[in-house]
Subunit: 444 residues, 2 copies
């Protein structure tokens, strides 16, 4: 195999939704009360919904900007690359990057629908959540069959509605749902509470997949406000290990041996250590903990069976796939966030993977993702149309522009500051955004 022969399915990308996402899926009062993109007097866009405002429209959606502007938080749609919210431009950006298919997490309600939990009228929120899923599945994903893996969100504050939505999603061909890895941060019972039993049962009955994306659940703390921000960026993905450890203890994994859980954006290089440590801890403590793993079955056996490990750039992990399991590793692109290697994914991925067999490369680049998320791009496209080489040829013929464009934005600190930018600087910037926003609202 050569670089251009890879078929790359990315199991984690993002959309910052376009302003008109609800218009084809709602009408009348429901459309009028749906989230709205509003521009303030300074030209900053924000979403407003049920009296709650979300100032960030393109959280970390910096693709296509110069590296110097990666710390400038996009605050209006016109600072975003078109592919961030326009599906046709997205396909171009996938083609030029050699990406055959992509699973996308949303933004307006956050990666896992967390913002729905802040809406006062939950029945209304559930209706808008459904419309959101309709847009995601029937409009965004359906625009290019075989190019997008559908990924829905859920009204987890209402278990009956959650189970109903799982069924509805499954019926329309969406087999993956994104939920918060730690629902206690949303005020819900923990994943070990019987509250979630109907959810696990429905996931199993419908043969669906749970995606847990870093960032919304267990905290990824900043060590101090004076800590250079690079420290936090470094440990952010690995912070999913807390969630992984929590979910590994789930009783439902034993009840439903085929349950599938994706650790989205968690990385893979730390996973062999984690599994070894889980086994060690179990061996030392199972005599008193009434362990879920009381006998010969080890936590690592269960981890290897249920959890998909997703990586962006992970050379060390890819040198150690035997420890993780070649069937439980999948590539992800993270477009349009700052970790994404767009448009150079093939050039960056290939050297970290080309020591593997062709079968292993196929598994990690697409077969594992296809199996885990029940998705088959080859129902719609011949394999040879979806290789890196074929997609890039298509993009070249179309002349897809990948040049870097400055879109400006607010610096986290004043120009001239020489010390490292800290966690505190970033916190202050977000606080400033919110305060300015509140002031403008008052004066409006």
């Amino acid at each position: 195999m050569e670089m251009n022969d890879m078929v790359i399915v990315s199991v984690d990308d993002h959309i910052s939704e376009p302003p008109d996402l609800f218009k084809n899926h709602l009408s009348g009062d429901l459309l009028a009360s749906a989230p709205k993109l509003v521009q303030d007097v300074n030209g900053k866009d924000y979403w407003t919904y049920q009296g709650v405002n979300f100032p960030s429209v393109g959280l970390n959606a910096v693709v296509g900007k110069p590296f110097e502007e990666y710390g400038m938080e996009p605050s209006s749609m016109d600072q975003l690359r078109l592919g961030v919210y326009d599906v046709h431009a997205r396909i171009d950006d996938m083609d030029v990057n050699g990406i055959a298919a992509s699973m996308n997490f949303g933004s307006v309600f956050d990666f896992a629908g967390g913002r729905l939990h802040k809406a006062p009228d939950k029945k209304l929120a559930t209706r808008h959540m459904q419309a959101y899923n309709d847009w995601h599945v029937d409009e965004w994903c359906a625009a290019y069959p075989g190019r997008f893996i559908p990924c829905g969100i859920l009204p987890t504050y209402d278990m009956d509605a959650t189970v109903a939505e799982l069924k509805r999603l499954s019926d329309k061909g969406c087999y993956t749902v994104s939920i918060n890895e730690n629902p206690t941060v949303q005020g819900l019972p923990s994943i070990h509470n019987e509250y979630w039993k109907p959810f696990y049962k429905a996931i199993n009955d419908l043969d669906m997949t749970i995606a847990l994306h870093i960032g919304g659940g267990n905290p990824a703390p900043h060590a101090s406000m004076e800590t250079p921000i690079e420290a936090w960026i470094t440990t952010m993905p690995m912070s999913i290990s807390q969630g992984a450890s929590d979910w590994l203890q789930l009783e439902a994994l034993h009840e439903y041996p085929d349950m599938r859980i994706a650790l989205s954006e968690g990385g893979i290089g730390w996973v062999p250590y984690f599994m070894e440590r889980a086994d060690f801890s179990n061996s030392r403590h199972k005599a008193w903990t009434n362990s879920r793993f009381p006998g010969a079955m080890k936590p690592s056996d269960t981890f290897k069976r249920h959890f998909l490990n997703c990586f962006i750039d992970d050379a060390f992990g890819l040198q150690n796939i035997d420890y993780i399991g070649e069937d439980m590793i999948a590539y992800e692109c993270d477009y349009p966030h700052s970790d994404t290697l767009w448009p150079e994914v093939p050039e960056r991925l290939w050297p970290t993977i080309n020591h593997l067999t062709d079968v292993q490369i196929d598994k990690i680049t697409h077969l594992n993702g296809m199996r885990f998320f029940r998705f088959d791009p080859f129902e719609h496209h011949k394999k040879e149309e979806l290789t890196v080489g074929a997609l890039r040829a298509k993009a070249a013929a179309k002349g897809v522009d990948t040049s870097v464009h400055s879109t400006g934005g607010e610096r986290p600190v004043e120009e001239g500051v020489k010390r490292p930018i800290t966690s505190g600087d970033l916190m202050a910037m977000f606080k400033r955004h919110e305060e300015n926003f509140a002031k403008q609202k008052q004066s409006a």
Copy 2:
């Protein structure tokens, strides 16, 4: 090399101090006001100091108990194995376990002197801290020259006193100090604040080593109160990655290229991923972060230069020492805590290390620890007297008893409970201890 030829220096063990630790180092009012071990009406021991009480006398000091009692927190000295607090018995326990030398963290003021920060009279606390260090260096360590690496604590709430204590410790041959990995949790400025500049300078001038032990600084959160406790035990060591990431950004590392920092009990298997991720994050973000690593020097280069990685049981990490650096890995035993493999350390360590060269094994078992902590057991003992085989022969001649002894204690949950013991159960147990203790105090 064979198993019995290893010379094992453990760079992380613990002492639960004996009640009379201050008697040879203080007199009069100072002795009278030193921490006191007191027994309550139920036979539970606790330390009391400056009006503050610390109910736990042997936190997790479960060595020698049956596994079934590992969840029963020792609450009195007579529940502890003698080697936990008696230096002569400790030497026996080291001999029978093939441990040539050991560095110990204390308990009465916590691993890193954190309890001193809670004392109202800080000047008095500083005096007692000095007496503590005198006991540790001049009594415990000095009892068996060449068998213990001294490790002091500091009055970090007073920088002048801290620098003075560093000098005093260095003069008495103690070259390592244990400090909190994240002093902001003690109400002190962060490690990046200029407050710490005299500390870093003194560490450098005196050629001393900083030890950061897991547990007292950055949080190792419990995902939920319903989460089985095994989840927390699993991720606890790796939680040091937050501290490692914070310290990796320290300006003083560039000012003092020989600064040495030990990540005590952090494990090693996750470290290659961590370094790779630090480099990746730096490469994506240095253009806007005013990074400490703006040019060709990578975070991983700095990490490899300054940080010692300490492991208890880490087969995967030991398969990957080339990624970490064979000079920056050291074995630790963690006696008497629940992770310790006493008295089977040689049998457990050897299979994870015997694929390495003799030189590499020597480095990891003792040479790295000796260099990093400026400690030379061979000034006092011939090498052949400190091998696993020689020490065990000595223990066998003496008849050191390693049989398991039940000492009982309070169960975290009532007998008969079948569900996994959770984080909430452990929290409730500790709260119950504190409440009982407070009640007894009132009635006394």
